[in-house]
């Protein structure tokens, strides 16, 4: 239990480090990646409940990003598996409630519930992987700038950038405080609500003092209410082309029964 905090924090750091690599995927305009990811998710999610085969071709997208973006596969999959107990928890009710046999696979009748459960799990895999890949190939500030230029209010994106910047500082601060608490706690004693309250209260007071100092630092450098940045990434023709291609492929995968076609073709051959 003691290390849980640390571990979560380190995972955060790993993704953050990955996002700063330099590959063709990383170099794309963050807007392209945000839009493409959203399109991908909406398409995947738009399949009806019992769909399985139609979802399989979509694995191509994460696989390509893993390869082109040079992202360690196990690392991401491990994280997806960590989240999936929740998916399994909700999904597992499908076989319970939906017991009507739907297909027969080599003599065994499979209920609709199991199929829709499998479908939910596949969706989980696809959507979670796509989000993790988005952040593994796009720096968080990049995503904030993308959001800003896609029309999110500046106030929101500015403070989101602050949040990101101070995440590491404050989580470390919190981590050290938790360490201090745990080192003087024995057999669960000292980890109760009362201690938690003063821990969090102290952390909040320190946070407000820090905000004060940061504001001072900003004023010292001529801050007048709006955050300015030097633009570096540009939306290029490649981005537009890529986005169009992604949309087209997504549409094709959504509309044509690729797995079925391949299967039938193969059967015809034998």
């Amino acid at each position: 239990m003691t290390m849980a905090f640390d571990r979560e924090y380190f995972h955060l750091g790993v993704l953050d480090l990955l996002s700063r690599r330099d590959t063709c995927v990383h170099r794309l305009d963050p807007r392209t990646k945000v839009i493409a990811t959203l399109l991908f998710i909406v398409t995947v999610v738009s399949f009806p409940k019992y769909e399985i085969m139609g979802l399989l071709p979509f694995l191509l997208f994460p696989v390509l990003v893993f390869g082109l973006g040079d992202i360690p596969v196990w690392l991401i999959l491990k994280k997806v598996l960590l989240v999936s107990p929740f998916a399994a928890f909700i999904g597992i009710f499908n076989p319970v409630f939906d017991t009507e046999p739907m297909v027969t696979v080599s003599g065994i009748a499979v209920s609709g519930g199991w199929i829709s459960f499998l479908s939910v799990m596949l969706r989980f895999l696809l959507t979670m992987t796509s989000v993790l890949l988005l952040i593994a190939t796009t720096s968080f500030p990049g995503i904030c700038h993308a959001l800003r230029r896609l029309g999110m209010p500046e106030l929101f994106t500015s403070q989101l950038l602050f949040l990101y910047r101070y995440l590491f500082v404050l989580v470390e601060e919190g981590m050290r405080m938790v360490r201090a608490r745990d080192m003087r706690s024995f057999r669960g004693k000292g980890q109760d609500v009362r201690v938690f309250v003063s821990l969090v209260g102290t952390l909040f007071l320190r946070t407000m003092e820090r905000a004060e100092r940061i504001y001072h630092a900003m004023l010292s450098r001529g801050f007048t209410g709006s955050m300015r940045f030097v633009r570096t990434v540009r939306f290029r023709a490649t981005d537009l082309a890529l986005l169009a291609a992604v949309a087209a492929v997504l549409y094709a995968f959504r509309v044509y029964d690729i797995v079925g076609a391949v299967g039938r073709q193969t059967e015809r051959m034998f």
Binding site: L15, V45, F124, F156, S158, L205, A211
Partner: protein, 350 residues
């Protein structure tokens, strides 16, 4: 509980996303109008604080299990509702991205469920009135607990509603509700207690922080009554509408769900009705209609009705075999592409 992409339909997901984006825009404008620019760093750093605070665990008395802080209500008290909402939205965004908590599309639902209710219902309608005249610690405790519980119950209710409306899970509305509400009642009691504690701690050490929130963002007395009434009315209509609609499609909700648990006698017809009502509601209200736009060869017409006829080749053994063969081939091909790309990369670098 975090809503997840995989449980959402595009209609529900995008509707919630749109609602959330609208609220973000509204809050940003509000803050721009009234509050000094100091709020930008304050909000950012507070978001980081909440993030850190959520990672700290504590033992829940009597159970030995560990809990952690949700924070919507706490932030609303410490920063005011508009800033608190934006901070909640930011924290959930970071969690969605770095921890895959929910996902990108579900972010809309999650921000709505965990942000809107505590900031715009529980805080102004429950916490503030209850602590209005004096902020004694007893009142703060009661107000926090009632506020947090209300916020969480509404959130849990929304999760259920969104799940059921999306139609990806077989969990019946009432069963799901009966699962969610009690759990969140317990969570809410603990979190309300903790929230009260932290508010008290901050108040004792730096009372001016809380005072400044109350002064800079006063809730004008007269307008409030009207607004309260309107909001309540809205909530009542939505909730009542949903419930009566369910009631009408299932004369006895509980019985319906029990029947489903026991087995599905002659329920397919009813289910069809529910689903078709669902679909038509979605089509009318959603930005992105959720009908199946695939029309493969030999596909079923009138597919929109209930979705049970999937592309999984129901029944016919021959076709299911071809489906399985196809699945493996496609999977194999995808993996091959992956390996080739990786190999090419290695070569390029090496």
């Amino acid at each position: 509980m975090h809503m997840a992409d995989a449980l959402l339909s595009p209609a529900v997901g995008t509707t919630m996303l749109a609602g959330t984006l609208g609220t973000v825009a509204y809050c940003s404008r509000k803050l721009r109008e009234n509050v000094d620019e100091k709020m930008i760093p304050v909000m950012g750093v507070t978001g980081a604080f909440l993030f850190a605070a959520q990672m700290i665990n504590f033992t829940i008395p009597g159970t030995g299990s560990s809990g952690h802080l949700g924070g919507g209500m706490l932030l609303a008290v410490l920063l005011g509702p508009h800033a608190a909402f934006l901070v909640m939205a930011s924290v959930l965004t970071v969690q969605a991205l770095f921890f895959a908590d929910g996902g990108l599309l579900a972010l809309g639902s999650n921000v709505w469920n965990l942000g809107v209710y505590p900031c715009f219902i529980a805080y102004p309608l429950i916490y503030r009135p209850l602590t209005r005249n004096d902020g004694s610690s007893g009142k703060i405790t009661i107000a926090s607990i009632v506020g947090v519980v209300t916020g969480l119950q509404l959130g849990a209710f929304s999760v259920v509603l969104q799940t059921v409306l999306s139609g990806r899970s077989e969990l019946p509305f009432v069963t799901f509700l009966l699962m969610m509400l009690p759990i969140h009642l317990a969570i809410g009691l603990v979190e309300g207690f903790v929230t009260a504690g932290v508010i008290g701690y901050v108040k004792a050490a730096r009372p001016e922080i809380l005072e400044s929130v109350e002064q800079s963002r006063p809730l004008p007395a007269r307008v409030r009554v009207k607004r309260v009434a309107i909001v309540f009315l809205g909530v009542a209509i939505v909730a009542g509408g949903t419930l009566s609609w369910f009631a009408s499609s299932n004369p006895d909700g509980l019985e319906w769900s029990i029947e489903k648990v026991m087995g599905k006698q002659e329920l397919s017809k009813q289910e069809g009705r529910v689903a078709s009502v669902l679909e038509s509601v979605q089509e009318k209200t959603a930005l992105l209609p959720d009908y199946d736009f695939r029309k493969p060869a030999g596909a079923q017409e009138g597919a929109e009705a209930g979705e049970p006829e999937s592309s999984w080749p129901a029944g016919k053994p021959g076709r299911s075999a071809s489906g399985i063969v196809g699945s493996f081939l496609v999977l194999g091909a995808v993996l091959c592409i992956g390996f080739v790309v990786k190999a090419l990369r290695r070569k390029q670098e090496g």
